[in-house]
């Protein structure tokens, strides 16, 4: 139950603070100064934000370097690890050197939470997170992306592949690590 006078130490304000006028001017001055700061916002659809390689956008399937098909061997690991069960696939044999591939590979983009687990477990570097973040659809059916929609050439995701090699690997594979001043000694 609250009382009108709880046992607290009240703050003592000086005369000027009680007068309140200086406070108003202080606030006005601070707000006024903000006007001359550089603009913080971005006019979004006209100006597009360019994500860095670290960004986890839409998961995509990587095409083979010789452009004959996808790298994926349909091992099913990504489908198993996907927390919201967004991935489904059907494996089959193929003429490609990897001998196995998915005949269907679907990611339900309404389910995907962009966690990046699929990329993390894939033993073939076949599924990676791209830099696409602006994904919209008009129907629920269109949100289920099939293999053709998911397949992208390797050059497009090269930056991400390089990032994975450098930052998700053991330290002995990393070129240069960011360390603090104290640790440099």
């Amino acid at each position: 139950m609250q009382t009108k006078n709880p046992p607290i130490k009240r703050i003592k304000l000086s005369f000027l603070e009680r007068l309140y006028l200086p406070e108003i001017f202080k606030g006005m001055a601070y707000t006024f100064a903000q006007m001359f700061k550089p603009k913080f916002t971005m006019s979004y659809p006209e100006v597009k934000w360019k994500p860095k390689p670290v960004f986890r956008g839409r998961p995509v399937l990587v095409e083979r370097a010789d452009k004959t098909g996808e790298r994926c061997v349909a091992c099913g690991l990504c489908a198993r690890v996907c927390p919201p069960l967004a991935i489904s696939m059907q494996a089959n044999e193929t003429e490609l050197p990897q001998e196995r591939h998915p005949i269907t590979f679907e990611i339900n983009m309404l389910r995907c939470i962009y966690c990046g687990y699929c990329e993390e477990v894939c033993p073939e570097e076949a599924i990676v997170m791209s830099d696409e973040y602006d994904i919209t659809y008009h129907t629920r059916q269109k949100a289920i992306m099939d293999k053709q929609q998911l397949l992208v050439p390797m050059e497009k995701v090269q930056a991400r592949l390089d990032f994975l090699r450098e930052y998700k690997n053991a330290v002995r594979n990393a070129a240069e690590q960011a360390v603090g001043e104290d640790a440099k000694k």
Binding site: M1, Q2, T3, N5, P6, P7, I8, K9, R10, I11, L13, E17, R18, Y20, E23, K26, G27, Y30, T31, F40, P51, K52, V54, F55, R56, C75, L77, R80, V81, P83, I113, Y114, C115, G116, Y117, E120, V121, P123, E124, E125, M129, F163, L164, R165, E166, Y167, K168, N169, A170, V171, N173, A174, E176, Q177, A178, V179, G180, E181, D182, A183
Partner: protein, 437 residues
């Protein structure tokens, strides 16, 4: 709150509540029936119009309730006679879901608990699992976690302060703090790859290393942030209107705060110096110099001020951690405890098998029970895990600070004014994703 004690069979026990459960249930049912689909209900006692009380439904979709919290308020004029917070509108069965997912698979779900500071939740879960398995996590990973957790604390406190000030009428600060949170999102984007749902902590380490670019960005941001923080404090701390609005509102004493189980800034604002980072240092917090701010008053103003002070301490921790950041791996180099390195999976059969086993079967943890709590921005966030030796938790219980802190709400608002409810909720800073789980 003084507990009445009575003797039952010669043993001192807590006195039974005055009303027995059935009567209380009946009374509540009557109120809820009266409230059905209506915002307010006026109850007239004994046909005397002067003895009427009004029952007001605040929420679940009220801008001031910070999510989907519903409070049934019984009013006598403008004074609150009784308040009952109703939870569960955002219940997503997190704990049950965990029983059907491996520890690793469930980790992204923890982002969605306290969505104002996802990194702390990730860390809390990973630390609990690591404690159960007795894993030795590399130092570099601990440093990255610490840095990210403290940034998450700042982010959470900024939102709390911004929205609390907005609730009490100062909209400008809200915009300033949100601009700062945008910068923090940029930091998280650079560190983890996602702005909001970071999912970056892994059992046994973290997902990816921190880049030099990110370190520089954080350093620059901290410089700016310190300046802004002191500017805001000059603006608000001794503002007469703000003080008169908040001082003495929502008072809770030290004893009550302990009895109810408040934790975090809310407890420290009542004069109890309990901070898990100091009381039971986890990770590497014992290596840093920082203070635990404690205020005595226990009112809304102290709860505002303590968050401001805590942000200053967090800045200190981040600065020290960035300075000490050591070289090394960011994950355990043992394929039985954490995922093998990507480079090895591509080239070695053994690593590949471990990758498959880890994904299909999950971690093989010993049988047993474990509880591990961290000092999350809102208070003590603990995970209690019961393991039956398989890759799935047999039972996973979340001790969420928002849920426990909300229990203090009736006591803080009863007897006060209706307009105080809004600032009291703002000062308690509950996040419903975490309270409802």
């Amino acid at each position: 709150m003084k507990h009445e004690v009575e003797l039952i069979d010669g043993v001192e026990s807590l006195a039974k509540p005055k009303l027995d459960t059935a009567t209380r249930f009946e009374k509540r049912k009557k109120i809820y029936q009266a409230l059905e689909d209506r915002d307010t209900t006026v109850l007239v006692d004994d046909d005397d119009p002067l003895e009427s009380t009004m029952v007001l439904n605040m929420g679940p979709s009220h801008p001031a309730t910070h999510g989907v919290l519903r409070i049934a308020l019984k009013l006598d004029g403008e004074t609150i006679v009784a308040a009952v917070p109703e939870l569960g509108y955002l219940h997503r069965a997190m704990e049950k879901l965990a029983e059907n997912k491996t520890y690793h698979e469930w980790m992204p779900y923890s982002d969605r608990l306290d969505y104002m500071s996802p990194y702390s939740n990730n860390t809390a879960l990973c630390l609990a699992v690591e404690k159960l398995g007795d894993f030795k996590v590399p130092e570099r990973a601990q440093y990255i976690r610490t840095i990210a957790c403290e940034i998450a604390r700042i982010s959470s406190h900024l939102l709390s302060i911004g929205s609390m000030l907005m609730d009490s009428g100062a909209v400008t600060i809200f915009l300033y703090t949100f601009q700062e949170r945008e910068e923090i999102y940029d930091v998280f984007d650079m560190l983890t790859g996602a702005r909001f749902t970071v999912s970056h902590c892994r059992i046994g380490g973290v997902a990816s290393d921190i880049s030099q670019e990110c370190v520089d960005f954080i350093k620059n941001w901290l410089k700016e942030f310190k300046k802004k923080l002191s500017d805001w404090r000059k603006l608000v701390d001794r503002n007469r209107i703000f003080i008169e609005r908040l001082e003495g509102v929502g008072y809770i004493s030290k004893e009550d705060a302990i009895a109810i189980g408040l934790t975090g800034p809310n407890l420290r604002a009542s004069g109890v110096a309990y901070d898990i980072r100091r009381a039971e240092p986890y990770m590497i917090y014992d290596r840093f110099e920082f203070n635990t701010p404690v205020l005595e008053n226990g009112d809304c103003y102290s709860r505002y001020l303590i968050r401001m002070l805590e942000m200053e301490e967090s800045v200190k921790i981040i600065e020290q951690a960035l300075k000490q950041l050591p070289k090394g791996d960011v994950r355990i180099d043992n394929a039985k405890q954490a995922y093998a390195w990507k480079g090895e999976i591509y080239h070695s059969m053994e690593a590949l098998i471990h990758d498959f086993m880890m994904t299909h079967e999950g971690l093989q943890l010993p049988k047993g029970e474990i509880y591990h709590a961290i000092e999350a921005p809102k208070g003590e966030l603990g995970f209690y895990i019961q393991s039956d030796g398989s890759g799935f938790p047999w039972r996973l219980k979340i001790r969420s600070p928002s849920f426990c802190n909300l229990q203090a709400l009736p006591q803080m608002v009863e007897g006060g004014m209706i307009s105080d409810v809004v600032v009291v909720i703002g000062s308690l800073d509950p996040v419903m994703g975490e309270a409802d789980k």
